[in-house]
Amino acid sequence: MSKLKRLLADYGAFGLLVIIVVSLWEWAARTGKVPSFIIPAPSKVLEMLYEQKQALLWVHTPATLKEALIGFAFSFAGGITIALAMHFSKLVEKMLYPFVLFSQTIPVIALSPIFVLWFGYDIWSKIAVTVLVAFFPIVISCYDGFKNIDQDYVDLLRSMGASKWKIFIKVEVPFAMPSLFSGIKMAVIYSIVGATIGEWLGASEGLGYYTRRMSGNLNAEGVFAAVALLTVLGLVLFSIATFIEKSFLKWNRKS
């Protein structure tokens, strides 16, 4: 009961707003105030989801999820490696930091056609786009996490005669974790976005490919159905990351 109450207290207002907006939307679409090829009624989107469940859930969602996850894995491994290299070496920091920032000023969509040339039409071009958008939050959050460590703790361990490695393991890594997890949570969402953009450029499966095909047919229900699934996908990945963060960083929870 108290759990239900807390859930209501936390998400009640949000839920209410959603219900109001969806109802208004449904009403506007049904009474013909908005043409259905521009914004379809929510009920039609659900219908579409149900009709297309075979293709959407068993073909396109897994395809996008696979690209996003592989892209995230590369971003994670690469991002952490770069952040650690910058943490340990001033020279590497000076060399790479501007590159990391530049990489974010690149309009990904403009660059992505080239990725198709480089990586082909199969999964690797999508992964490349995903990595380009998702690795930045990982590098920066990890790098900042190490950068902002309270020097007093480092000094304390030095006064105990700790080696650089011991300081790294016992103090720096744990203190960098909360920041790194913020980056991971952003990166999982970006991975979904990256995979979707990748699919727009040319693909034969995936939710991004599906939205493009549907919008080509002026099938707004189809587009919205896929967008709904992409949102759910992002939320699920975000929740998993949050769950891992909470079980890892019990000490960091505000109580």
């Binding site: 007093d152 006064s159 105990m160 016992k170 744990p174 000490w251 960091n252 109580s255």
Partner: protein, 243 residues
């Protein structure tokens, strides 16, 4: 001789004025010595030099006849700096893990926690403890560095007056059982008089005055009301004011 400083000077990198100039002091084994003085007289820097956190480039520092390096003295900064993800007992064991030493065990740590009345908090995280409790845990951690010489940099400065009084009581009671040499920075004159055998008063012009506190041991917190303590206090206050 436990800690010996001879003509020590130190200038922070990039600065021209030395923060410590020609400082000498001799501290006997088992002595409790307080460092007092206005801000900027180099008290904390001195402890960091002895702790080996900065290289001593001018003068000689020796601890038990050896040049101290990191790990050779127990250093306790003003903030407790307990690692927030470690339980009380794991925080106390940290110095041993860091130094790969096994001369003290978890059982010893539990024994100590019993002695200081914190045994039921042994598996608690630091955020669950009060300021005074955290300071006591930090002190135990400093003891578990296993060094004879302890450097305490204003350990009680962040505590409220009542908790501070409790900590004095507590420190005086465990002090009897310890045979450590303590170098203690404080801004609180009563604290310095109550706890110390000797007070080193650092002046802004780098002169150092030594005041021997000739009060009987064991001491108790009630002694702050003794006229002798008040006399010491007045004398020291005058010395500081006359700078």
């Amino acid at each position: 001789m436990s800690v010996c400083l001879e003509n020590v000077s130190y200038t922070y990198p990039g600065e021209t004025k030395p923060v410590i100039f020609n400082f000498s002091a001799h501290i006997e084994k088992g002595e409790f010595v307080s460092l007092i003085g206005k801000s900027g007289t180099g008290k904390s820097t001195l402890l960091k030099l002895i702790a080996g956190l900065f290289p001593c480039e001018e003068g000689i520092i020796s601890v038990n006849g050896k040049t101290p390096g990191p790990g050779s003295v127990g250093y306790m900064p003003q903030r407790d700096l307990l690692l927030p993800w470690r339980t009380v007992i794991d925080n106390i064991m940290l110095p041993l893990e860091v130094q790969n030493k096994r001369n003290l065990t978890k059982a010893d740590a539990e024994e100590w926690l019993k002695r200081i009345g914190l045994i039921r908090w042994k598996d608690a995280l630091p955020k669950q403890l009060s300021g005074g409790m955290r300071q006591r845990v930090a002190f135990l951690r400093t003891l578990f560095m296993g060094s004879e010489v302890l450097l305490l940099d204003e350990p009680f400065a962040a505590l409220d007056a009542l908790t501070k009084r409790e900590m004095h009581d507590w420190l005086l009671s465990i002090w009897k059982e310890l045979d450590n040499t303590i170098l203690f920075i404080t801004h609180d004159l009563e604290e310095a008089i109550l706890l110390s055998d000797k007070i080193l008063l650092l002046h802004a012009d780098h002169k150092v005055e030594e005041i021997i506190v000739d009060l009987p041991r064991p001491r108790s917190v009630d002694m702050v009301y003794w006229p002798e303590v008040q006399t010491y206090r007045k004398t020291i206050e005058k010395k500081i004011a006359n700078e």
